[in-house]
Symmetry: C2
Subunit: 217 residues, 2 copies
DNA sequence: TTTCCATTGAAACGCGCGTTTGATTCTATC
DNA sequence: GATAGAATCAAACGCGCGTTTCAATGGAAA
């Protein structure tokens, strides 16, 4: 078992497949992505997917898992913030890293797109995705929202408000085709991520500060 | 030209196709919906789509157009509100009718789902959809937001805030699969539409009342 | 060198899709 | 009733897909 040569060529095709599959699944979605395109992009034979992964869905699941592992490491939820940060700072960090993950352009940030697509057109892999990644993230957001609501933080209200925050983030991904047609001159790119994060945070902070009190007409 | 018999049987197949196509396109999307399923549901021959509409995309475009025409009539943007309504009332009416259109369950409210799907997986029909339906709706929302912002209503801020409002609405449609897994016991149905509309309106009113001022910590 | 087995490769299979075909049925006109 | 044109029908076509097949390859063990 000459591990040296074996390890290089043995898992090489497998590795190249997963690396090629990520961006393609992220760009096209599970159904629209084709095994032929992935193999062409990876420079491997068409039969390699079925030989190494069994079928297309298993390659997709593997790619998704790998994406989940690496995704949060690259854009941590708290943005590396100290535990002493204020609620407003923590909220901004959450929103900013969320947008970076979902809207990242040039970089290998097809990962956010892959996750976003899985949420819109779920496969069997969504259940694990929710439990392993989304629920922890949502819990964290709920804790931030709860802190900002203070005494008004009833459980039902916390959940509704957390949804209101995250909905503003995913909107810029899900509705991109519409937004581009509504405002063709506007470029929703990484340069804009900070502006968007600033607005979403400000909007949400104002909402969380005011909701539950009676100050509107 | 015995119009009586002619009118009934002449356009009958065509009408049945469009009626069957609506829910199926709405449920499955343009690509995933099959001509075979639509024809089976309409009780017509497989070749009828190509005979009466040319191809699948044309049937889809016709269905979308008809949907746009009838959709707003059934759930008017202002909810039939008088022009003397306050900004808060107009915002609630907008949000509520929007949610009804998108989340309507039992009823023939596949129309909202059809439009929502077109926004996520656009076809060539999206351009007209944006110009004919979405842009007018967005303008109306902008005017409501502008009224609520008062003196702080700079154009860029108005657009961002209008997006923040509408994003909370579409979220409950786009992210339904995730929401159902996050809160399995919660039923996002028509009974809940009023609760959701109430929350989204309250959240947004508080945000619009506070944003631009300095009152948060 | 020979044997063996995991891996690769080219080709094809089976399927479902949108679409087309050509015969058949129906109905308004003569 | 005869006829022409529109509408319907069963059947098939061509295509791309995921998947399978089976021969060719090449390094490790004998």
């Amino acid at each position: 078992m000459e591990k040296e040569l074996l390890a290089k060529s043995d898992q090489d095709t497998r590795r190249r497949l997963m690396e090629a599959a990520g961006p393609i699944f992220g760009r096209r979605g599970f159904k629209a992505a084709t095994v032929r395109e992935i193999c062409r992009s990876a420079g491997v034979n068409l039969a390699a997917v079925n030989y190494h992964f069994g079928d297309k869905l298993e390659l997709y699941s593997m790619t998704l898992s790998r994406c989940m592992q690496g995704g949060l490491a690259r854009h941590p939820i708290d943005g590396g913030l100290s535990l002493t940060a204020t609620g407003a700072e923590r909220l901004y960090a959450f929103v900013h890293s969320f947008l970076q993950r979902i809207l990242g352009d040039g970089n290998p940030d097809w990962q956010g797109q892959l996750l976003a697509r899985e949420m819109m057109e779920p496969t069997a892999a969504l259940d694990r995705l929710v439990e392993d990644l989304i629920r922890p993230m949502f819990k964290q957001l709920c804790s931030i929202v709860s802190e900002l609501l203070g005494a008004r933080a009833k459980p039902a209200l916390v959940i509704l408000c957390a949804r209101s925050v995250v909905s503003q983030c995913v909107f810029y991904h899900h509705s991109r085709p519409v937004l581009q047609r509504l405002s063709p001159q506007e470029r929703i790119e990484s340069q804009q991520v900070q502006r968007l994060a600033r607005h979403i945070t400000d909007f949400s902070l104002a909402a969380l500060a005011g909701i539950g009190s009676e100050e509107r007409g």
